[in-house]
């Protein structure tokens, strides 16, 4: 065999790299895989539309005080003079009340709608951030360290995934409230705040396990790759191997999981608020409004449709955006 022989060199060049730069001749900088995915995402029309819708809701939530000031109303004023003796609003859509007023209380619908976007988004995003962070760290540790660490974390993942979410969520709220002195002793403000954090906790608690399992699996395959061995041979400390070598390779599953978790959490928050274990008065929230509005649907359909449209549009946009992100990260999809 002639392979190693120095004088049998086949087409040796001084700069082999410069011999075939054709692929990226125009770009002096290479593109990272994340960058490529982002570029693909920008070309995806559905993704751009959905991202705009999500951005719209984010802006509505951020500028809620400004928007309600623009209308000249706020969320807590009871316009009792515009309510008849049976509780029905006497006015529809007016210049003062852009979306009308609530039955019974007479509070402004528009103000409550724009403020209602806040808890949905904040809870969904915070729960996603917390759940993702826990899931990633747990998955990394379980996959990379292996042994008893893996066994304990894997057991925890199985345990969490086997818990019934709804039952647990419904049960947890009164438990936490009783720990804080019982719901009768709490001011409505305190109660609303506690509910807010309990919701984030419950959603994150149930959200991390699925991601952790995915990350663990990815790490199990990645850690056998030779670049991880090369890092070890160089003497790179374990935490750097985890966060500098492995984590960048996990961007795709993390981003995909997070983008699919956000709409799920928006729905879950609304669902729990509808069931009465989510947010409570005086915090305006769409899920809670839906629960109340079902009683008035025949007389005042707009009251129900406002939060329903809000949630549907937001969740649909987030879910489609999540799908588009997953496609963008998957090199096998062609559009």
């Amino acid at each position: 065999m002639s392979i190693g022989s120095p004088d049998s060199t086949v087409g040796v060049e001084d700069h082999p790299a410069s011999a075939e730069p054709a692929r990226t001749a125009a770009t002096p900088h290479g593109k990272s895989p994340s960058r490529i995915a982002f570029d693909r995402l920008r070309k995806d029309r559905v993704a751009v539309i959905c991202a705009s819708i999500v951005l719209f809701f984010v802006l509505v939530a951020i500028f809620a005080p400004l928007l309600s000031k623009l209308e000249g109303q706020d969320i807590s004023t009871f316009n009792t003079q515009q309510i008849d003796e049976f509780g029905y609003p006497t006015i529809g859509i007016t210049a003062d009340h852009w979306f009308g007023i609530e039955p019974k209380t007479g509070r402004d619908n528009f103000a409550r709608w724009v403020y209602g976007a806040r808890p949905s988004l904040i809870i969904a995003f915070l729960a996603t951030v917390v759940g993702t962070a826990i899931g990633v760290v747990m998955g990394l540790l379980a996959g990379f360290l292996g042994g008893w660490v893996d066994r304990i974390i894997s057991w925890l993942i199985d345990f969490v995934l086997s818990l019934p979410f709804l039952l647990f969520a419904i049960a947890l709220v009164p438990i936490v409230e009783s720990l804080r002195g019982g719901s009768f002793n709490l001011s409505p403000e305190d109660q609303a705040n506690i509910r807010f954090y309990v919701l984030i906790f419950v959603l994150a608690f149930f959200g991390w396990a699925g991601l952790a399992r995915i990350i663990r699996g990815e790490v199990l395959s990645l850690r056998e790759r030779e670049f991880v061995l090369a890092a070890k041979a160089i003497g790179v400390p374990t935490w750097q191997v985890l966060f500098k070598e492995l984590l960048p390779n996990l961007v795709a599953p993390i981003v995909i999981s997070a983008s699919l978790a956000v709409p799920a959490y928006v729905t879950a928050e609304a669902g729990l608020s509808f069931l009465g274990v989510g947010l409570v008065e005086p915090k305006p929230s769409w899920g809670q409004t839906i629960a109340v509005a079902t009683n008035w649907y025949k007389a005042d359909p707009l009251y129900l449709w406002l939060p329903v449209i809000g949630i549907t549009a937001l969740v649909l946009a987030l879910a489609l955006l999540g799908d588009a992100i997953r496609d963008a990260f998957d090199p096998k999809t062609r559009r």
């Binding site: 190693g4 086949v10 790299a17 900088h29 290479g30 670049f227 041979a233 003497g235």
Partner: protein, 347 residues
């Protein structure tokens, strides 16, 4: 390649003594669990002098890569010694190993999995510089470009990602990463077997240049006798976790003693056939490599050896210098005899 690379006596840099790697495996048997071990490497010894190169040859699963990974301490040996410059590093803890990480580097087989796809080339090569504080801040790039140039890549491509390079170029990046710490020994774990034949020669030439110019000693792991022949001063042939024959390049290639070495050499493709010379009788080995979980008694090669007799099953042959062989040439066989003219003149 000249026969005498360097006539000055060299110091022993690396000494491996009776290295063993036994991987425990658990098997469910009935109600309980039986513990078995895979004897991946079972008593390997060799020496490497400064600037020299040792070829470690054998078929898949014979433990050659495991040996390489133990020397770089990616694996902790079950027993045995790895003496590097007078220090036994076989059982050192990660923190104590740190200074040795700088001196023992490894180049991997698969250039597609040995580079982190999410890091730029400059990031990949500067990682060892940063970990060992080898250059001042701000001079990293200059050093990276110097290394890229050294391995024959365009230094302006430091900003690119590995996916923009071909297999041979990636392997050069892997070599540059190993060079970054200025090591004294590089374990080359089949560095060219994943490459196209035309690229193999270029990468081999690069390694050869590095050895000559920088005086780096190589442990060259390969399953390809042709590659090893042109690169290594000394060759050790492994079979099922043990070295069966060891000697200088000429001793192994021109007068192989062990039947396994003879079979390996005989299996190498012969260019003469293409030119019309009638092919030589090949030694055909029958059967598979026995399981390293339960290796054969006595000589491990006896199950496939045409010379095997009763003594091979009862008494394990030692790796020793045979009366008929030249000095420094050891073989582990009861019936060792040189067999010449096994390989035709290649190329």
């Amino acid at each position: 390649m000249s026969e005498t690379k360097n006539d000055t006596p060299r110091d022993t840099l690396l000494q491996v003594r009776d290295l063993k790697m036994h991987f425990p495996i658990k098997e469910a048997a009935g109600l309980g669990r039986t513990k078995k071990v895979v004897q991946a490497v079972d008593g390997v010894s060799f020496e490497l002098k400064a600037g020299a190169s040792l070829g470690l040859v054998g078929e898949s699963g014979c433990g050659k890569s495991t040996t390489g990974r133990m020397i770089t301490r990616l694996l902790t040996p079950t027993s045995g010694e790895i003496v590097f410059k007078g220090t036994d590093i076989a059982q050192l803890k990660e923190r104590e190993l740190r200074p040795f990480r700088r001196q023992l580097q490894i180049v991997f087989q698969d250039p597609y999995s040995s580079l982190n796809p999410r890091q730029t080339v400059s990031n990949i090569i500067s990682t060892p510089l940063r970990v060992h504080n080898l250059v001042k801040k701000g001079q990293e790039l200059a050093r990276v470009q110097e290394l890229l140039e050294r391995v024959g890549l365009n230094p302006e491509h430091h900003n690119r990602y590995p996916n923009e390079f071909s297999g041979g170029q990636r392997q050069r990046i892997g070599i540059a990463r190993a060079l970054a710490v200025e090591p004294e020994v590089i374990i080359a774990d089949e560095p060219v077997s994943a490459l196209d034949v035309s690229i193999q020669a270029q990468v081999m030439n690069l390694l050869e240049d590095l050895r000559k110019d920088l005086g780096i000693a190589f442990v060259f792991i390969a399953h390809d006798l042709g590659v090893v022949r042109h690169f290594c001063d000394e060759v050790a042939v492994m079979y099922l976790g043990k070295i069966v024959e060891q000697g200088s390049r000429d001793q192994i290639y021109n007068a192989p003693q062990h039947p396994y070495t003879q079979a390996l050499l005989s299996a190498a493709p012969d260019l003469g056939t293409i030119r019309g010379v009638p092919p030589k009788e090949r030694i055909r080995l029958v059967g598979d490599v026995p399981s390293p979980i339960d290796p054969p008694s006595g000589c491990r090669f006896r199950t496939r050896c045409w010379k095997a007799e009763d003594i091979c099953a009862t008494q394990e042959p030692l790796l020793e210098i045979k009366p008929q062989s030249t000095p420094g040439h050891t073989a582990a066989c009861h019936f060792a005899e040189p067999k010449v003219d096994l390989i035709a003149e290649t190329a």
